[in-house]
């Protein structure tokens, strides 16, 4: 291709793009590595999707700018008794299509969240019943006293009853089924932004909802573009095609830091990375070894000793993470400051393995996602080579989340060795016990993410007690003790707490929450 042929054209384009740039000052162009999988707030329970939709839909309560729980669609609430909560709804709120928000919408949404095809049953797991006292009041009765009901309700998004029923979206999308779904591509919430156009995997445009009850920032239009290639992602930011990149690939931090007109915004994220080991099968799968080595505590300890988490932080994570001593980050309620991580020592690991009867180690298959967490693929590879040194041969199956998750989650839990992580959206340890650490009890929606299938009854007991204890300090103590037990049992091998790293244009003010939420109403373009 002859260069002199394009050069002038290119130059012209350069000028033209330069000219149009300032015209769209109030537009916020965001590029992220993934895209919201659906617009239905009750179908995919995936954090990016949830937090994206949190800008369109709203719940009764939400976190404010300072990460405190505050009323959103609920004006206020009172506890009638230990189990009964009465929410007074905010009036003058209308949905994007103009219809007025009222109690029946809340009831409808709760029904919907509990329906067969919903993936949000857990938010109401503790709830006995709910009812509308009047147009503007909703009463919720819990099975037992629930100190963190409000945290639970954070994820419950409210839809418009009429709109949903009119458009055949009364039920959340059945992810199994091959069926059309209106709510997958259309949304009608009460949030500060409404969906203008939606082309999945391509571009989604939001516009500020002028009928919004609260006050939003000065952003009038938001353009979401998923970009899966890290290099492109950064070049887009550097060349000013997007204003905000989340997350920013770690390897590009230095470049963005030195880049003109762009900055790196980072803060600790509540996501703890860990390695899981099968503790419920008698014979581990996809491995030639007889029986299940992981049932032996010494083997689990050996692995903890063998995996040099600090090296992974320094090298793979470019220092953008902090060592995890337990399955929580320090900001989460229930964090136990006294716990320490088993130190890195190949010898200790080897001798432990020898004691356990595996002097030459053994062979195991590790499942790993490549596009879900920061550098997840590389973390796994590092793990593989670290474990190789103590004689444990790991066959790595690293695949995109689309294949990874169906394989490893319920009902099959089809893995015996894996990398995963968890963010307690409630910022309370109990959430971790209920989902990840508690003994698996799928019927009651417990331990659905306890893929390693570990079980420490004493911890379960403490967690259960904490669940119904209203006294904050006592409750925290219980959670801390429970966590200590779990760590002692090496239910999982904790790796690190990753940093939330975004790249942004200088003129953008953002708000980062440890839970990776991005409440756009608090963002500003200067």
């Amino acid at each position: 291709m002859s260069k002199n042929y394009i050069a002038p054209l290119v130059a012209a384009l350069a000028v033209s793009t330069a000219l149009v740039a300032p015209a769209q000052a109030e537009t916020l162009r965001i590029a992220s590595q993934g895209d919201a999988t659906s617009l239905d707030p009750h179908s995919h329970n995936e954090s990016f999707t949830n937090y994206f939709l949190a800008n369109v839909y709203e719940g009764l309560v939400a976190r404010d700018k300072d990460f405190e729980i505050a009323g959103q669609l609920a004006q206020s609430w009172e506890q009638v008794d230990a189990k009964t909560w009465r929410f007074t709804l905010r009036d003058g709120v209308s949905f994007h299509d103009g219809s007025v928000f009222a109690a029946d919408d809340v009831i409808f949404s709760m029904d919907r969240a509990l329906s067969e095809t919903s993936n949000f049953k857990h938010v109401l797991a503790s709830v006995e019943s709910y009812s509308a006292i009047d147009d503007m009041t909703v009463e919720v009765v819990t099975k037992a006293p629930n100190p963190i009901l409000l945290n639970d309700l954070l994820d419950l998004m409210i839809l418009d009853k009429q709109w949903s029923e009119a458009n055949g979206a009364a039920m959340p999308i059945n992810l199994q089924a091959e069926e059309k779904a209106y709510s997958a591509t259309n949304a009608n919430g009460t949030g500060p932004f409404q969906v203008v156009s939606r082309a999945q995997g391509e571009k989604t445009t939001l516009a500020a909802f002028d009928g919004y009850w609260g006050d939003a920032g000065n952003v009038t239009e938001v353009v979401f573009t998923p970009i899966n290639n890290a290099a492109t992602l950064v070049s887009a930011l550097l060349s000013g095609e997007v204003d905000l990149v989340m997350p920013l690939p770690l390897q590009d931090i230095p470049r963005v830091e030195n880049g003109a007109g762009v900055k790196v915004v980072s803060s600790a994220e509540a996501r703890t990375m860990y390695i899981g080991m099968d503790q419920w099968r008698d014979q581990i799968i996809e491995s030639p070894v007889e029986g299940n080595p992981f049932l032996d505590l010494r083997v689990r300890q050996a692995i903890a000793h063998a995996v040099d988490a600090q090296a992974i932080i320094d090298r793979v994570m470019q220092g953008q993470a902090t060592l995890a001593t337990q399955y929580l980050m320090d900001k989460v309620n229930g964090y136990n400051p006294d716990l320490t991580r088993l130190e890195y020592s190949v010898d200790t690991a080897k001798s432990l393995l020898a004691e356990a009867g595996y002097p030459d180690g053994f062979e195991v298959t590790m499942d790993c996602s490549t596009d879900r967490y920061v550098n997840d693929g590389q973390i796994c590879q590092a793990t593989v080579s670290l474990l190789a040194r103590v004689g444990i041969k790991v066959n790595l199956i690293a695949q995109p989340k689309a294949q990874f998750f169906p394989k490893v989650v319920a009902p099959d839990f089809g893995t015996s060795f894996f990398l995963l992580s968890w963010t307690p959206s409630t910022m309370d340890a109990l959430n971790v016990f209920q989902n990840v650490l508690g003994t698996r009890d799928l019927e009651n929606g417990k331990g659905a993410w306890n893929i390693s299938g570990c079980s420490v009854p004493e911890a379960d007991a403490l967690a259960a007690e904490a669940a119904v204890t209203m006294d904050a300090t006592a409750r925290e103590k219980m959670l801390q003790d429970a966590m200590a037990l779990m760590v002692e049992d090496v239910c999982l091998v904790p790796l690190h707490v990753q940093q939330l790293v975004w790249g942004a244009a200088e003129n953008i003010d953002v708000v980062q929450h440890p839970t990776f939420e991005f409440p756009l109403e608090y963002f500003n373009v200067n």
Binding site: I173, K180, A231, T232
Partner: protein, 322 residues
């Protein structure tokens, strides 16, 4: 025209077979029932469902049904998007088409003159250089080229946008991003990458054909008749060169579609290609099957066009002499 009718018949057969492949993929990669119902569904219910879906009918009947639906543009519903596959294709098609057309035109505009030139002055320095470049052109993997272009034009020079499709404008009822500066600036690099490979292939082909033709008796006779160079090259040689070249270009069209997959991935171009990759990533079989059939269609049509062009250029076909 007998020749074209025969071709049309063949094309139909080809399409039917392509549809068969699509159908088989659709039907047998991943049990459609499993994809329809959760694991927990009881065996009886599944049987019932099979029955109602007609999955127990003789395979030919199912195939026929599939074809009939396909003809009506019904390729089932994507289970990663919960939307009609045909709808999705319709959404993405324009982007790919404009990319393919832009690069196709580019490559022809450059390849034909260059090919003729190198064919005539094969020993010349410029010709040698062009040929050398063309080797690189056909050799360099398009993804590599794409990345390098982004590095140079987006990051270092910051001249061109590095991803995505630009603003769309409507001209004469056509919606395309090629009608806006922004759109063009977005399309330029992807088109260039996509074009380069074709450019190399077509250029080399034209050159080879040119060399062949220039060696024929009727060209020597044309010289002997005292025709001036221009006439010999462009009126006599070129037309004869075109016959095989046209076929190749016909084939290149469908390979343009194939390579657009890679280009679209590198440049985040929202077309059929990225759709296909998404489908593969999600194992979205209905989408895969539909794409398969779609490309088959593209090829078949382009071939029909090629045949039609043949009839125009080559009288021997018109008279059934060939």
């Amino acid at each position: 025209m007998y020749f074209l009718l025969a071709r049309l018949l063949q094309a139909t057969i080809v399409m039917l077979c392509v549809a068969l492949v699509g159908f088989l993929v659709f039907q047998f990669v991943g049990d459609p029932v499993l994809s329809l119902v959760g694991q927990e569904t009881s065996v009886e219910d599944r049987e019932a469902l099979r029955e109602s879906l007609g999955l127990n009918d003789p395979i030919l009947v199912q195939y026929a049904r599939y074809v009939v639906n396909a003809v009506q543009g019904d390729f089932g519903i994507s289970y990663s998007f919960n939307r009609d596959v045909s709808e999705m294709i319709a959404d993405r098609l324009p982007a790919t088409i404009e990319l393919v057309m832009l690069s196709g035109v580019l490559s022809l505009l450059l390849a034909i003159p260059a090919g003729i030139y190198t064919g005539i002055r094969r020993k010349g320095g410029i010709a040698q250089t062009i040929m050398a470049l063309s080797v690189i052109g056909v050799s360099i993997p398009s993804f590599l080229l794409g990345i390098l272009l982004i590095l140079v034009f987006s990051v270092w020079l910051n001249w061109l946008p590095s991803f995505g499709r630009g603003d769309v404008a409507v001209v004469l009822g056509f919606r395309s991003s090629l009608f806006t500066w922004d759109g063009l600036s977005h399309a330029l690099m992807p088109a260039a990458v996509l074009c380069l490979f074709q450019l190399g292939v077509i250029l080399r082909l034209i050159r080879a054909e040119m060399l062949e033709v220039l060696r024929t008796d009727y060209i020597r006779f044309a010289w002997a008749r005292g025709l001036p160079g221009g006439r010999v090259y462009f009126r006599h040689a070129l037309k004869n060169t075109l016959v095989p070249v046209v076929t190749a270009i016909g084939l290149q069209l469908s390979s343009l579609f194939a390579f657009s997959i890679i280009t679209e991935r590198v440049f985040q171009w929202p077309g059929m290609g990225s759709l296909l990759l998404h489908a593969i990533g999600q194992s979205d079989i209905p989408l895969l099957a539909a794409y398969l059939i779609f490309v088959g269609l593209v090829f078949t049509i382009s071939n029909l066009v090629v045949d039609a062009i043949y009839v125009l250029i080559d009288p021997r076909i018109r008279h059934g002499a060939l």
